[in-house]
Amino acid sequence: MIVTGKPLPLRRANVDTDQIIPARYLTGIDTEGLGEHLFTGMAGGAELLAESPGANIVVAGENFGCGSSREHAAWALTARGFRAVIASSFARIFLENAYTNAIVPVVVPDAMIEGFARARSITIDVAKQTVQADDEAPVAFELDELRKQFILGGGFLPYLASKIDTVRAWQHAR
C-alpha cells in the first residue's frame, strides 16, 4: 500500500481531539457529516485547511490526538480524505483509533517535521514502512506489527470475532 499526497502543515504539538472535532458535533449515531467540522476547534484550523486544497496527510508535532477517546477524530479525518498523520508522537487512544480506521500513524523525530510540513509531495510505503518528502531519501518508521494488518486489510472486528472461542476457553479455565 502506497499513500501519496500533500501535507496539511499543522506543525504544532498537542493537537487535542477537541481541536480535531469539537464535542458539540458528536451528536450523531453514524459517521455522516463529521468531515465538515474537521479542525474547526483549532485556532486557524479551518483557514489552514482552506489554504491546503487536496491535502491528505496531516503533519504535526508531539502528542497528536491527545485528550478525549472520541473515534470521531479519526472518522472526521478519513471523511476529508486524510490517510496518514506524520507526528513526532501520538496519544495512545488516537493511535489505536488511527490503526482501526486505516490512518497511517507515522512517527518521525521532531527535527524532521518541518521538512515534511514544507514538502510538495509525501510518499508513504506502508508495507515497507518508509516515508519520503519529495525526492529526499526515504525515512524508515515503526508500525505495530499486528495493527499494521488492519491498515492494509481492515478486519479489526473480524479478528476479535475469531478470538471468541479462545476467550471463552480461557475464561472457563480461569
Binding site: D18, L26, S89, Q171
Partner: protein
C-alpha cells in the same frame, strides 16, 4: 517483583499477540450514548445477537441528558432501545448520572478487575485498584463482541506522594501538581501507580479525582491499591466481597519510571493555559516561558497575577469533581454569601443530588444565587447546560481547558471546587481564604 498493575494485567491476558500486543480480558464494559451507537450498531448488523456477555455491560445516558435537541434525543433513544433489545442494564435519566460517578456508586467496579469504556476519563475507576481505561468506539465494540481489548502492555510509573496534603490543598490540586511534574504528555505509554502516605489518607472520592486526571498527563490510566478505605466504600455498594482482589505491589516491584512528590508542598493550583499541565499556584503569576499560543488564546501575559484574572462564569461538576465531598467543599465556601457571576453546580449523579439535598446543600447553593441542576456531563465538554460564548472566561472544576472545550472560543481555568466557589463569590480567581472561609470543616450541618 511485580507492580500492582502487572498483577492485574497478568491475570487478564488471554493470549499474547504479534507485535508485543496482548488480548486482555475485560471484566466490565461501560457504554454511553455519545460513543456507543456506531459500534453497537456495527456489531449487531454484522454479528447479530452477539454480545460476549451482556451482564458485563452497563449502559448510561449521561453526556447530554436529558437530550437538548433531536440529534441527542436520537442518540439517547438508540442507546435505550439497543440496551433493551440486548438485555443490558441501562441507567437513564432520573436514576443515572455521569458514568464514572455511577459505576462505582452502583458497585460495578471491583479491585483487581478490568474496565473499559469509550471515554477517556474511565481512568477514574483506577481508584479502586482496577485497570480501567478509555478506548475508541470500535475497540469498545470489540470488547462487547469478544470480551477483550487488543493492547500494548503499558509501562508502569510509580508516583509516590509522601507526607500528607496540606489542609488548603485538595486531590484536584494534587492531580494538577502531578501533571505539572511529569508533563502534559509525560505519562504517555505509562500506567501511573500512585502510592505513599498522602495517597493512603485520601478518601475514595479524592482518589477518583486524582485518577480521573491521569489521562491529562497522557497516561493509559492511574491506579491505587485497594485498602481499608476501599473496602469501606465497597461494603456500601456491593454484596460480593469474594470478588474483590486486594492486590498490592510487591515490596521489590520494578518500575520503568518513578517520581516522588512531597504532599505537604502541594498548594492550590489553577490553570492559566490550554492544557492541564499549564497551571500555577493561585497566589502566583503566569510563569516565564509560558507558551505563546496558549497565552494568546487565553488573552493573558507572562507575569499576570492569577488572583487578578476576571471571570464570566463558574462551573462545579464533571466526572472530576461532582461527588458529595466536592459539593460539601463548595457549600462550605458559598454558605451565606452571594455569587457575582453566573454559577452552575451540577451533581455527578442523581444519587449525589439526593444526598446533597438531604444535607441541605441545595439550599446553600440556591441561596447564594447559583444554578443547581440535575446530573449530567453538562458544560464540561461544551455540549449543553452552560456552554461558553467566544471570549467568555470560566473557572471550572472539570478536567480539560483545551481550546474550545467548553464552547467555541471559550476560555477555561481548571481548579478545585473550593477555588471555583470562592472565585464565583468574587468574580475573579480567588481562594477560600480571600472570603474568610474556614480552611476545612469536618461536618457542615
Amino acid at each position: 517483583m511485580r507492580s500492582l498493575f502487572d498483577k492485574i494485567w497478568d491475570a487478564h491476558v488471554v493470549e499474547e499477540l504479534p507485535g508485543g500486543n496482548a488480548l486482555v480480558f475485560m471484566d466490565r464494559v461501560v457504554a454511553h450514548e455519545i460513543t456507543t451507537p456506531q459500534g453497537a450498531i456495527a456489531i449487531e448488523k454484522e454479528y447479530g445477537d452477539c454480545l460476549y456477555d451482556r451482564d458485563r455491560i452497563v449502559a448510561v445516558n449521561d453526556h447530554v441528558s436529558p437530550a437538548k435537541d433531536t440529534a441527542t434525543a436520537i442518540q439517547a433513544q438508540v442507546l435505550r432501545t439497543w440496551a433493551k433489545r440486548q438485555g443490558i442494564r441501562l441507567y437513564d435519566i432520573g436514576e443515572g448520572g455521569i458514568c464514572h460517578v455511577i459505576v462505582p456508586e452502583r458497585g460495578y467496579v471491583t479491585p483487581g478487575s478490568t474496565v473499559c469504556c469509550g471515554d477517556s476519563h474511565t481512568c477514574t475507576l483506577g481508584a479502586f485498584g482496577a485497570f480501567a481505561l478509555g478506548i475508541g468506539t470500535t475497540a469498545q465494540a470489540g470488547a462487547m463482541l469478544a470480551g477483550c481489548l487488543i493492547l500494548q502492555r503499558p509501562k508502569v510509573m510509580r508516583v509516590e506522594v509522601k507526607g500528607e496534603l496540606h489542609p488548603s490543598a485538595s486531590a484536584k490540586d494534587l492531580a494538577l501538581a502531578v501533571i505539572a511534574e511529569i508533563g502534559f504528555r509525560g505519562g504517555t505509554g505509562y500506567v501511573l501507580e500512585y502510592t505513599g502516605s498522602a495517597i493512603d489518607s485520601l478518601d475514595m472520592e479524592q482518589r477518583m479525582t486524582l485518577c480521573n486526571m491521569a489521562i491529562e498527563a497522557g497516561a493509559t490510566t492511574g491506579i491505587i491499591a485497594a485498602d481499608g478505605v476501599t473496602a469501606a466504600y465497597l461494603e456500601k455498594t456491593q454484596e460480593a466481597p469474594s470478588d474483590w482482589l486486594f492486590l498490592r505491589a510487591d515490596r521489590d516491584a520494578r518500575y520503568a519510571a518513578s517520581v516522588t512528590i512531597d504532599g505537604n508542598a502541594v498548594r492550590p493550583l489553577v490553570t492559566w493555559g490550554t492544557n492541564p499541565g499549564e497551571n500555577a499556584p493561585i497566589d502566583g503569576v503566569v510563569p516565564v516561558g509560558a507558551a505563546a499560543a496558549s497565552l494568546d488564546y487565553m488573552d493573558l501575559r507572562v507575569g499576570d497575577k492569577m488572583s487578578e484574572i476576571v471571570l464570566d462564569q463558574a462551573f462545579i461538576g464533571s466526572c472530576t469533581n461532582s461527588r458529595i465531598g466536592d459539593l460539601r467543599e463548595a457549600a462550605r465556601v458559598l454558605r451565606g454569601k452571594n455569587v457575582v457571576i453566573p454559577t452552575i453546580i451540577t451533581p455527578g449523579s442523581q444519587a449525589v443530588k439526593r444526598a446533597a439535598e438531604r444535607e441541605g446543600l441545595h439550599e446553600i447553593f440556591q441561596d447564594a444565587g447559583a444554578l443547581w441542576t440535575h446530573s449530567s456531563c453538562g458544560p464540561c465538554l461544551g455540549m449543553s447546560m452552560g456552554v461558553l460564548a467566544p471570549g467568555m472566561r470560566c473557572i471550572s472544576s472539570s478536567n480539560r481547558n483545551f481550546q474550545g472545550r467548553m464552547g467555541d472560543g471559550g476560555r477555561v481555568h481548571l481548579a478545585s471546587p473550593a477555588i471555583v466557589a470562592a472565585s464565583a463569590l468574587l468574580g475573579r480567581i480567588a481562594s477560600p481564604a480571600d472570603i474568610g472561609a474556614p480552611i476545612r470543616e469536618e461536618a457542615l450541618v
